[in-house]
């Protein structure tokens, strides 16, 4: 009964597991997003080798360029964990540095994607050219849209940090944003392998 009384005092924070509902919910959402991207990746895999006209992947995919953009995105994940670490330790300056790093590296990745897309269109590969164009642009396009959303989220956090509103007690917000960011990164790890490296 004492526990019940104690719970009554502050029970809008009570949980059965001691875990944050935000983390439980967000990991569940990430599990769901696995299915979303897997469906797009499966579509790409199913249509490999089925384009009737070119340009074909081996003619147009730029491995050196994409290796660099992949590296950039991986480093943005490193910046993300360092940003979380900085917020958890209450270091406002480092939070701004590392969150800024995520924003810059993420934006650089998007820059690479924009360049790649416009280059492909210039070379004659559009969404309507063949099934490679359709499946490639939709898969990487949705991934890029997710990165864009992530960058906007990070900018919001950066502004909060700049205003001194990202204290250690707020680190859960950064942690959740980090989970999103890392997820977008691991989706790219899969895409880089299955689309670019295994042709």
């Amino acid at each position: 009964m004492a526990q019940a009384a104690a719970i009554a005092q502050d029970d809008h924070h009570y949980t059965s597991t001691g875990l944050s509902s935000w983390k439980v919910g967000f990991w569940t959402f990430i599990g769901s997003e696995c299915l979303f991207f897997a469906s797009l990746i499966s579509t790409y895999m199913v249509y490999k080798g089925r384009s009737v006209v070119g340009p074909y992947p081996e003619e147009i995919l730029n491995i050196p360029l994409t290796s660099v953009s992949t590296f950039v995105l991986l480093m943005s994940s490193l910046a993300m964990v360092l940003a979380l670490d900085a917020v958890q330790r209450g270091s406002r300056k480092l939070s701004l540095v590392w969150l800024g790093g995520v924003i810059l590296l993420g934006s650089a990745f998007l820059g690479f994607q924009v360049y790649e897309f416009s280059h492909f269109v210039h070379e004659g590969l559009t969404i309507g050219t063949n099934v490679f164009g359709s499946s490639f642009f939709v898969l990487t396009g949705f991934h890029g849209a997710h990165v864009t959303g992530g960058v906007i989220w990070m900018i919001t956090l950066w502004i909060l940090a700049a205003r001194g509103k990202l204290a250690p007690a707020d680190s859960l917000k950064v942690e959740i944003a980090g989970l999103y960011w890392h997820f977008v990164d691991i989706v790219w790890i899969v895409i880089f392998t299955l689309v670019y490296l295994i042709q």
Partner: protein
């Protein structure tokens, strides 16, 4: 239950006891959201039912021309789409919303504003897809929308667009709801409420929620690919470019089969709570029923191509799916035996809730038997796309899912409203439903085996199918009338029904420990649970009632109402709807509204 004034120290809290339309539009209270889900889905039940009656009138006579072939296509498409997405799913969600937090001893769901968002997306999405009727362009390519019938080449016009966009909007609601209920059930159970002590309905809600968050993204992608084909000239389902229309079928049924378990598991959960109550016996083999439910959810992912036996996947693929489909009948059958064993030797009572629950056991078994017949690929080659299939899925979906929801309705109506439904009207409802339902759908087994195809607006007189169709049409009208009895029962009971106590059925689980209807905060103090049937064990019931019935000394802190979920839902609907303009940047306007709503929401404290 008047609105109490706050003491000087207590924080200002917005009471959900406020009446008035604004308080309902901004509510984040799971009970109010549950009621809204129910009323909306109940309304759509009559919309879908009306569409069914038009179908049945058209089929009453061979070579009839009551409605045109085009209208007929719209009717069977919207009947299926409405019943699956706007009735069965949301009605189950209504129960998830109202009942599950009460059953696990929680004050609300994990994310109350997200919960409201799910409801408003459902309402706006449902209105959007039905607005297609105003343009004479209701979806017309069946509820499964096979490619490449749905391509621009073969179905130009707005019909398919309304369907693709409407379902995409509705899917968001379900995914968010699934995340919400998974988190709620994992994280907000009262002290002592271990997972294996939860009521079965809460368990089935958990499994269904996992199915929702995993299956809906797949159909979302199928729809996105179709949208890109139609709006942006992509080639996903274009044969000449190397695309494959069968990919649509794979993606759709990868979603579609888990979807039918999404439709049935909530009702299995409901009757798993109802049957023990009216047998005055705990559920027989509780762990087995739980594991069977989990197994059904999991194996349900491995059977999808049994909808594609006539596609020509080849004997190796077909054999795999025959095996997996037959295997999944096992855990389903196990549940049937558990329900029967629960009743065996119990002190049986048969109020309407129990009649419908037993009805589910009987009728679903019939539907399950025709399902096992379909599982054999050679047999299915005759049955596929015939009325035999229509008979099968109506037996499991109406006899199983819908009757289970009706059982829950009669069971929990007293808890929600504080009034009892009329038992005599209930029995009339039950028996006319049973007669009408069986008269409608049993003849369809014969019509199908004698050669009547699905989705065809008429048939030749020489086929001798008229008698089966006439029986079905008569049955359909009886079924429709029986549903009117339900409305009458609601109205009468709300006005002058007998008052219900906290536990009119002498049931076992936590929701029956609190008043009918509950306080807006549900539990004054979170109860401590020590068994699966807390109210059936003297000592535990005394402890639970000691903390659940009294007024609290200090008003529990509840989440505040919010306007932003409705704004975001509107923004999402607007964004998707603007895709129909065909101009790529116009949806960004809707996206702006959505983003504004999301940011405002994010910066609004949950408790004010």
């Amino acid at each position: 239950m008047s609105v109490t004034t706050e003491s000087a120290q207590a924080p200002a809290v917005t009471h959900t006891q406020d009446t008035g339309i604004w308080s309902w539009m901004t509510t984040v209270d799971h009970k109010r959201i549950g009621i809204m889900y129910f009323l909306t889905s109940f309304f759509f039940f009559f919309v879908g039912g009306f569409e069914a009656l038009l179908i049945r009138i058209q089929l009453m006579r061979p070579e009839n021309a009551f409605i045109s072939a085009e209208t007929y296509s719209q009717m069977f498409t919207m009947h299926g789409t409405t019943m699956v997405f706007l009735v069965a799913m949301p009605m189950a969600v209504a129960f998830f919303n109202y009942i599950v937090p009460l059953q696990i001893g929680a004050r609300d769901v994990a994310f109350p504003r997200l919960n409201a968002l799910s409801y408003w997306i459902f309402l706006f999405g449902g209105l959007f897809i039905n607005s297609s009727f105003l343009f004479g362009a209701a979806p017309n390519t069946s509820w499964v929308g096979y490619a490449n019938l749905t391509s621009l080449q073969f179905t130009p016009g707005r019909n398919v667009e309304f369907w693709v966009i409407g379902l995409s909007i509705l899917g968001i609601s379900s995914i968010l709801g699934g995340v919400n209920f998974i988190t709620t059930i994992i994280n907000l159970r009262a002290p002592g409420m271990k997972l294996m002590r939860m009521p079965l309905f809460a368990w089935m809600t958990l499994v269904t929620s996992f199915l929702l968050v995993t299956a809906i993204p797949v159909v979302a992608v199928a729809l996105i690919l179709l949208a890109f084909d139609r709006f942006f000239g992509a080639n996903f389902y274009e044969v000449t470019a190397g695309g494959d229309p069968i990919l649509w079928q794979h993606l759709f049924w990868l979603f579609g089969h888990p979807e039918v378990y999404i439709l049935i598991l909530p009702s299995f959960g409901i009757i798993s709570d109802v049957i023990p109550t009216f047998s005055r016996k705990p559920l027989f083999g509780y762990p087995v029923v739980v594991y069977a439910g989990i197994l059904i959810g999991f194996i349900g992912w491995g059977v999808w191509s049994h909808h594609m036996f006539t596609v020509g996947l080849g004997p190796i693929a077909d054999s795999f799916f025959v095996a997996s489909t037959m295997i999944i009948a096992i855990p389903t059958g196990i549940k049937i035996f558990n329900w029967l064993a629960t009743m065996w030797g119990g002190a049986l009572r048969f109020p309407t809730a129990m009649l419908f629950a037993v009805g589910v056991v009987a009728i679903f078994t019939v539907g399950g038997l025709s399902g096992v017949m379909h599982a054999s690929a050679p047999v299915d080659l005759q049955q596929h796309d015939s009325y035999f299939v229509v008979a099968h899925f109506h037996y499991v979906l109406v006899g199983g899912a819908l009757m289970g929801l009706f059982s829950g309705l009669y069971f929990w109506f007293p808890k929600v409203t504080g009034k009892l439904l009329s038992e005599s009207l209930g029995k009339w409802h039950f028996w006319t439903t049973m007669i009408g339902f069986n008269l409608t759908f049993f003849p369809m087994h014969f019509a199908g085996l004698f050669g009547m195809p699905r989705r065809t607006w008429t048939y030749q007189a020489e086929l001798n199918l008229e008698i089966w169709n006439q029986l079905s049409t008569v049955g359909a009208f009886i079924f429709g009338l029986s549903s009117l009895l339900l409305i009458w029962n609601f109205g009468r009971s709300l006005k002058k029904g007998e008052e219900a106590s906290a536990n009119p059925w002498d049931a076992a689980t936590l929701e029956w420990a609190i008043p009918s209807p509950p306080h807006h905060y549900n539990f004054p103090v979170l109860p401590e649970v020590r068994s699966r049937e807390p109210l059936w064990h003297e000592a535990e019931r005394a402890d639970v009632e000691a903390v659940t019935l009294p007024e609290p000394a200090k008003e529990p802190i509840m989440p505040s109402s919010s306007f932003w979920p409705m704004v975001v839902a509107f923004g999402i609907t607007l964004t998707w709807a603007l895709v129909m303009t065909g101009v790529w940047w116009v949806p960004l306007l809707g996206f702006g509204v959505t983003a504004f709503g999301v940011f405002s929401w994010a910066f609004q404290p949950a408790f004010r």
